[in-house]
């Protein structure tokens, strides 16, 4: 079913990872590796930022350079790390979990992936243009983003808009593909309510991409015209409205947080049952809550704009909708706790990352409710409280969930086992580092330290030193991870088809799966997922399938 015309390399050859493959499993790994390359770039910028902030004076880098650093850090981490890495997981997991041979549109998939290095290069290139990179923050609000003091047409801001627009196109291509695949290519017998929760959350997240991204792309197009063509959509002097851009930006970029966190909810929902040996508590509610989050997530964006001069009725309305999000999210949190309750918990590396991620997520949820409250929000707006909140969401919860997923599915897609010792060290450094880095940001914000400044009052020094130490610890934490990934892929122990005793279609494939997954022999699904402890088979003839896999492993 997958086209071999585009990938001349034989299956199994390492060379196919460097070409235009149409195999979703190859593309998935390409996405993840490229994303981690940009993660290192964005992380390096974060190290410089925290190095600057370890002392109250602005002494490490120039102030303009500092503006470029935080702008590029945010943009790279979101558009070049977290979206690509999640699309990589989607590519690996969606077809194998639903028993499809590949994505619905393999060539569209290839094109969507190869746009990532293209716009990545464009964005990184902005460091080397005469004007320097964009300096108006990752949200690029006008009028600051329209200043262009250097006067060059090809400015950092210009490249920023171009890169974001291309990223949008790539994500739309991906989303069309993922949604079509999930709707149309499920294995026989896999009804909606027999589908793994990861696929539910991926469907929800990709629907949000489809609804939200065009608005950002349209808004960014208008920003580009204001910047280079002399229009005045956002220029007050020409009758334009800068707040209009904020609406466009947040109409997408708030749901973008759910695009990031929903698949992580999916990962939690997959992994807690495996390592607690219990079925997922309230499967139907967990699955449906994803779509309640989609619906509510589309009508909360104004909470980013409470101090921007919006009407009072809007503030009240969006405060209420924002707080309502806590209900479906709470359903999920309690479902995971209910899953672990009384379970036979195995503290493997993926499980540790899940528990740590859940802990951080609950903390981020509490500060999120605080931020939704209009009076609190106006007080802490544009302070480190906000920075702390979203780093807890993005790094504390989402990135830790992504690490959990990588350790959990690594044996499936590489055929090798990752090392537990290095993995646990990685977890320890990440968990301590993230909390040490991001927790001090909350008192700093409440004390009134603004974000995006390179110098600050000496009374803020204590918490900043702590945060910087935490950041450096996070920087170190990536070393055992990379070491683990590379060495275990090269010479790790061979992985059996189901090393974690997990239930799911992907675990009924050899490790690594053949190019067309089940090929013509897609098993028929006969029960709900997560039947841990029930002894019920997931598919017809499960015993024969597993026996054949074990036999093949014994003779290889």
């Amino acid at each position: 079913m997958t086209s071999t015309s585009l990938s001349p390399e034989p299956p199994g050859s390492w060379r196919r990872y460097f070409g235009f493959s149409t195999d979703a499993k190859v593309i998935g790994i390409q996405y993840i590796v490229v994303a981690f390359f940009f993660f290192l770039v964005g992380g390096l910028l974060a190290m410089i930022i925290r190095g600057e902030l370890i002392t109250p004076a602005s002494d490490l880098v120039d102030r303009t350079v500092y503006n470029g650093l935080y702008t590029m850090h945010g943009t790279i981490m979101l558009f070049l790390f977290i979206f690509p890495v999640l699309n990589g997981l989607n590519n690996l997991l969606i077809p194998t979990m639903i028993g499809a041979p590949d994505m619905a549109f393999p060539r569209l998939n290839t094109a969507a992936f190869w746009l990532v290095p293209v716009f990545g290069t464009l964005l990184i290139a902005s460091f080397f243009v005469p004007s320097g990179p964009a300096t108006s923050g990752w949200w690029s609000y006008p009028p600051v983003s329209l200043q262009n003091p250097s006067g060059y047409l090809i400015s950092g801001e210009f490249l920023w808009v171009l890169a974001v627009a291309l990223s949008g196109i790539s994500s739309i291509m991906g989303a069309v593909n993922f949604v079509t695949t999930i709707i149309r290519m499920r294995a026989p017998g896999m009804t909606w309510f027999r589908m793994p929760v990861f696929c539910w959350t991926a469907l929800a997240a990709q629907s949000l991409q489809l609804i939200g991204l065009p608005a950002l792309t349209g808004g960014a197009l208008m920003l580009l015209f204001d910047l280079v063509a002399g229009t005045s959509f956002y220029r007050p002097e020409g009758g334009g409205d800068p707040v209009l851009y904020q609406h466009f930006f947040w109409f997408y970029s708030h749901p973008a947080v759910y695009v990031i966190i929903l698949p992580v909810f999916g990962i939690f929902s997959e992994l807690f049952p495996v390592y607690s040996r219990k079925p997922l508590f309230g499967y139907v509610y967990v699955a449906l809550a994803s779509f309640i989050i989609v619906g509510l997530g589309l009508i909360v964006w104004v909470h980013h704009m409470f101090p921007s001069g919006v009407a009072q009725w809007m503030r009240n309305l969006f405060m209420v909708t924002t707080m309502l999000i806590a209900v479906p999210t709470g359903v999920k949190v309690f479902a995971w706790l209910g899953t672990m309750w009384g379970g036979k918990i195995r503290l493997t590396t993926p499980m540790l990352f899940c528990i740590g991620g859940l802990f951080n997520f609950v903390f981020a949820g509490i500060t999120g409710i605080m931020l939704a409250t209009v009076p609190v929000d106006i007080h802490v707006s544009n302070t480190y409280f906000v920075v702390g909140h979203f780093h807890y969401v993005i790094y504390g919860a989402a990135v830790m969930g992504i690490f959990a997923a990588i350790y959990h599915w690594f044996p499936k897609f590489t055929g090798r086992m990752p090392y537990e010792g290095l993995g646990k060290l990685h977890f320890l450094l990440t968990f301590v580092g993230a909390n040490l880095n991001f927790l001090p940001m909350h008192p700093l914000g409440l004390m009134g330290m603004p974000r995006r400044v390179s110098s600050y009052d000496t009374e803020f020094a204590f918490w900043n030193v702590l945060a910087s130490l935490g950041a450096f610890l996070l920087g170190v934490s990536i070393i055992p991870f990379l070491l683990n990934m590379i060495s275990s892929w090269v010479r790790g122990p061979r992985a059996p088809h189901n090393p974690w005793n997990a239930i799911g279609l992907e675990w009924l494939l050899p490790s690594p799966p053949p190019e067309d997954n089940f090929g013509e022999h897609v098993p028929t699904v006969i029960s709900r997922p997560y039947g841990y402890g029930s002894g019920e088979p997931l598919v017809e003839n499960q015993a024969q399938i597993e026996r054949a896999l074990t036999l093949a492993e014994a003779t290889r």
């Binding site: 079913m1 997958t2 086209s3 015309s5 149409t22 028993g99 499809a100 041979p101 619905a104 549109f105 393999p106 060539r107 569209l108 739309i172 989303a175 069309v176 593909n177 949604v179 079509t180 709707i183 149309r184 290519m185 499920r186 294995a187 026989p188 896999m190 489809l210 609804i211 939200g212 991204l213 065009p214 608005a215 792309t217 349209g218 808004g219 208008m222 015209f225 063509a229 002399g230 229009t231 005045s232 959509f233 020409g238 009758g239 334009g240 409205d241 209009l244 609406h247 466009f248 109409f251 013509e520 897609v522």
Partner: protein, 203 residues
Amino acid sequence: MTSSSLPEAPSPTPIPAHGEGQHASHNLTGFVIFLLSESVIFLAFFSGYAILRLAALDWLPPGVDGLEWRMPLINTVVLVSSSLTMVLAEHFKGKEKLWLFRGFWVLTMAMGVYFLYGQAVEWSGLKFGFTSGTFGGTFYLLTGFHGLHVATGILLMGLMLYRSFIPGIYAKGEEGVKATSLFWHFVDVIWIILFVLLYVWRA
């Protein structure tokens, strides 16, 4: 997408979820999802236009007293009728009368080209430009972005016309015509909203 070029492998048991025969309709599903997503970008432009217009103190730039509506009205009638000729073309394709299909298909294309021509004539006679405040900016943004879609639609129709001459391609449940016609109706509906917003809405 790719599999249509590969020979059909004999399948021992029918696999209903992703059998070879259903692959073409994946394309249609994907295309409908794309169109739904594409409609949001117009929604964004429409709401941006409305917000800017409602908030403006002087909506019209100096020396401009509004838009001439007669020529755009003719354009509207042509574009809406082209949706009807397209339905006729599809009808004849269903009856396997390929030449009638091609005739109405070409008529639809001609009406699309006429629409673009009318748009170009209107643009060349206007006294304001893209940079004439938010009025000029939104006018050219909306009509230009829509015009790009009309041009894309005509290109797609040309491609489908070309494909109709490849023997047997329409017999195997070809879905490109259906997708193109969906796209054309979409472009049509967008224009009606656009016409109301730009020309009918008077301050």
